[in-house]
Symmetry: C2
Subunit: 224 residues, 2 copies
DNA sequence: TAATGTGAAACCGTTCACAGCT
DNA sequence: AGCTGTGAACGGTTTCACATTA
């Protein structure tokens, strides 16, 4: 794939907390720490430190400390970090606690997989609806979500008011669908189509191109 | 997701070409240019320039020129780039032309989608085999690839000698499977399990964590 | 003593601006 | 005149090293 990220700005806003400006890679790492912290919580661990956390996600202890101090997480010198407190803190920064609503567009094999994927709701995401243009799929329930006609898109966006859209449509349709969801009030798009969407500046988009990912992997092997 | 990349080194080696050291983001962008160039080829365009190419993938003309000059691509001053020549040049750098073989491990819904995904072969990748631990799936053909028992993994790796492995298994099994494929000679892993694999340094790994991707998207929206 | 938090240095990638071809 | 190729400036992230605190 290529996970290429648009949108330049960041800038914290709410919560009576410390500011700091998180870089895109830093946000990615926070998400990884968050994952590992929940694993630690599940196994009953109550504290950790920058060295161990770093080892878990393959980054240096210095990076861990910089990341965590930048969100104002108070570790304890000489001791480390409290797992529960840290998990909660990172969760607050990443927007856990908010119940995000997403719609999925395109119920091909990838769309199907995404509908069945349990792992979104663990992080506070719910799939409000799924859409396709194939009438044979209308009304079918996949992974707890019912597939509807793409003609109903605007209606559903207006009533359910989801914030996110996941695009799993063929690349020829991607731009068109992106325009429609943005017009309908969607604020961020996770795009699986191998197309660079041309959207208004400031629109949050993350692209995941599976073929491009593999290509980059091959490049690295070739230039070992 | 998180598309986090391991492996530090790069360093060109073969081909009597210009050196330059490509950064990870640069490689990602080359992959995008490559995609767009083929689109241009298909529509009969014969030349382009840094401004237009940049517009297609949302980067500045300066970045395009830097990227292309770093692979020694000879554009023509005052004119631009020849689409066919440029596509070929980038393809050579990215390892198109090499017929990469990959195996897929884990034929759940995501694995299924990956097997059906046409888009890998366009870039020179072929799926040599797919594996699962569910006997009900053995022998079934999905997207042109037959599913086999995971017990056969080592045998297939030894005979087909694939370079890449795509992991679409539950996270509990991911580390174990990664160890097995690496022992079997696999050189790079595309990992979809939400786990940071602990592997020998220098191993090429690209992680694609769909939930983490969504989480990062939500973060950006929240901090608009 | 142990491990955080953080200035300051080092590093890397992007942007600028212009010389050099065509 | 137009657009590439690239040295040099810039900006931002990572690394280093150490003062700080439990």
């Amino acid at each position: 794939m290529n996970t290429d990220h648009e949108t330049s700005d960041s800038g914290g806003s709410d919560e009576g907390d410390r500011r700091a400006e998180l870089s895109t890679p830093a946000v990615g790492r926070l998400s990884l720490y968050y994952r590992e912290l929940h694993r630690l919580l599940a196994s009953g661990e109550t504290s950790t430190n920058s060295r161990d956390l770093g080892a878990m996600v393959n980054v240096s202890p210095a990076v861990v400390r910089r990341d965590l101090s930048s969100i104002g997480s108070i570790g304890r010198r000489g001791v480390g970090y409290d797992v529960a407190i840290l998990a909660e803190r990172i969760g607050a920064v990443l927007g856990s606690g908010v119940q995000w609503k997403a719609v999925l567009i395109g119920v091909g094999s990838l769309g199907n997989a995404l509908l069945r994927y349990r792992g979104f709701e663990r992080l506070g995401f719910s799939l409000a609806a799924a859409f396709d243009t194939d009438p044979a799929k209308y009304g079918h329930e996949v992974g707890g979500t019912t597939v509807r006609s793409l003609d109903d898109l605007e209606e559903v966006l207006a009533t359910a008011k989801p914030e996110l859209a996941i695009l799993a449509v063929p690349s020829e349709q991607a731009s068109q669908v992106a325009t429609r969801v943005l017009a309908g009030g969607i604020q961020g798009i996770l795009n699986f189509a191998p197309t660079t969407l041309r959207v208004p500046p400031g629109t949050a988009i993350i692209n995941v191109d599976l073929a491009s990912e593999l290509q980059q992997l091959a490049f690295r092997i070739q230039n070992r």
